[in-house]
């Protein structure tokens, strides 16, 4: 424990800027993963334990696309599309068969998919740590804001993910499609009897959620080392975020993600060895006080 270091950071403006930006970037990337997770839970009632695997897949596809094209934008988009495509397969071949069944069975299916995905990645890309490297465009000197150094790439990530977050909010709250998925989350039978093909809606939600996970993987690729199994830790933290925010609530996930991001970046100064412990403590505290999470609601009947 180094509380002194934490205190001196809190009273130093440059340290505040650095830690807050790094907290925000962690938080925003986690939000992209967690929003898909919470969306899938909200609409399908499935706890997608394989979500992290698609984040990993996105990162690796982004890496390869960047090697080929040397274009970061193309890399990120192909990461999203690749994960979405794999997600469509995942839904059709596996998840579809366990809708509305025992939670344990759903967990097992996802567990199997995680094991397979990790091994496939290892076969295709090898088990060595891979590093994508910073894209050419962002190899600029860091900006100095109030004495703190902020790499331009960080600002890019924060802006891009904020835009995606806004688009997601717009899609869910303001479009016809959003109304349909919200209705499906509350009453699938009613939606179905109105002539809307619910199986297609479920498929689209899984694809959307895994697209977001893939995008997050692609965005994070330049600043993370790629390794098979990298999805595990991301998955667990995303779960914590989902639970803190309230399972099924996208805006709850947003608040929780920022909270976790800041906890991690400041926690790494005050409790360097205990960062993970801190976020689990946070989760336990929230669950004890409000078992449904910050913005969670009672869940509806599932398919």
């Amino acid at each position: 424990m180094e509380l002194g270091a934490l205190l001196s950071c809190l009273s130093d403006q440059s340290c505040l800027v650095t830690q807050t930006t790094s907290g925000l970037i962690i938080g925003m990337l986690f939000f992209l993963v967690a929003s898909g997770l919470t969306l899938i839970f909200g609409v399908l009632g499935i706890v997608n334990f394989a979500h992290g695997a698609f984040y990993m897949l996105g990162a690796y596809i982004g890496y390869s696309a960047y090697q080929v094209t040397q274009n970061y934008a193309i890399a990120v988009i192909s990461a999203g599309l690749g994960a979405a495509l794999a997600g469509a397969l995942f839904e059709c071949l596996a998840v579809r068969r366990v809708y509305g069944q025992n939670v344990l069975l759903q967990l097992l299916v996802c567990y199997g998919v995680v094991l397979i995905a990790d091994d496939l990645v290892q076969i295709i890309w090898g088990s060595e740590y891979l590093s994508m490297g910073m894209p050419e465009t962002f190899r600029l000197p860091p900006l100095v804001i109030a004495g703190g150094f902020v790499p331009p790439f960080y600002i890019f990530i924060i802006c891009t993910s904020s835009i995606i977050a806004f688009l997601l909010w717009f899609l869910i709250e303001r479009t016809q499609y959003g109304r349909i998925i919200r209705a499906t989350a509350t009453n699938p039978e009613m939606v179905s009897s109105l002539g809307i093909p619910t199986p297609l809606i479920y498929l689209s939600v899984v694809v959307l959620g895994l697209f977001l996970a893939g995008i997050a993987g692609g965005l994070a690729a330049p600043i993370r080392a790629l390794t098979p199994g990298m999805g595990f830790s991301v998955l667990i933290v995303s779960f914590v975020i989902t639970v803190i925010g309230g399972m099924g609530s996208v805006s709850g996930a947003f608040i929780a993600a920022i909270l976790i991001g800041l906890t991690r970046s400041y926690g790494s100064i005050g409790f360097p060895l205990f960062v993970d412990g801190l976020i689990y403590l946070l989760m336990a505290a929230v669950l004890i006080i409000k078992p449904t999470g910050l913005l969670g609601e009672k869940k509806a009947d599932r398919p």
Binding site: V103, L108, Y111, V113, M247, D276, Y280
Partner: protein, 340 residues
Amino acid sequence: MKITQQEGKRKSLNEALITIAALLILLALPSLTGSQKIMDFVIFAAAYGVLATALNLLIGYTGLISFGHAMFFASGAYSFGALMQSETTSVPIAIVLTLIITATIAAVIGAICVRLSEIYFAFLTLAFQMFFHSVLLSWVEVTGGDNGLLGGIPTPVFFGINLAQAGTKYAFCVSLAILSIYLLRRIVTSHFGYTLRMIRDNERRAIFLGVNVFLTKLICFTLSAVFASIGGIILALFISGAYPDFAFWTTSGEAIFMVMLGGVNNFLGPLVGAILLTGLNDLVVHYTNHFGLFLGSIILLFALVLKKGILDFLDPVLENLLNKKIKTPNDTSEVENSDA
């Protein structure tokens, strides 16, 4: 079906006899085969079998899906290892102290967790487990951090038993495992065990009947944790060490898979699952580097096609076979079948 007192007595006598037979067979194994590999396999399967059977007290009998049971497995292994390494206690006292430590941790965590249900219970236990895992990693002076408890676990002679001898250690571990499984069996066939099933099937009815659901769940959680920690003790004793991986969520995942693989609705299901998964692990690692691909496919096949544990699947089949033997050829049921 009503079970008379006499029948109940006969049943528990049968169980005791089966337990003793199983113990004797396992104890005789090393001298029959003399293979170290088989002994290793038996101990690993026994340690995880105790963990899975203990976990099923929560999952199968009470309907509480704990995703954090590896925490107690690890607390058993670490407490026992650390106590022995401090060289102030003897083996039996260390075991008793370990059980007390685990029971205390479980009672505190359980009191918080059992208030929640379903997926929230699963996640809260998961969170506590990961918290425990990070404590193991960061409390380096006691736990050895990343490296785990290294340097071996000393086992001074007690009551003339010398656990430094491989054969004695094997016998001790096997007896501990069989005793735990027998005690767990006594628990699930007791009144307490039936109360657990009632809570699983209809919690509201249990409340109306005057059951203190919170307390019952808490006792069940603590008992299950204590037995899980015995699994940890066995493993720590046998490999003479403890590693942070014991408390990692994948260990819980595997334990849950063992429970599912063998069958939730069968007392011996989790044990069968543990034996199968341990065997599968050994085989797959022996023949291929692509462990995940193989195991993952098996899990998928199992979950998507079979959809229930092996013993759960076999149970009706076996029952049918037994019934057919009793039936005479002129049985009326065949007529009914042809009508249908």
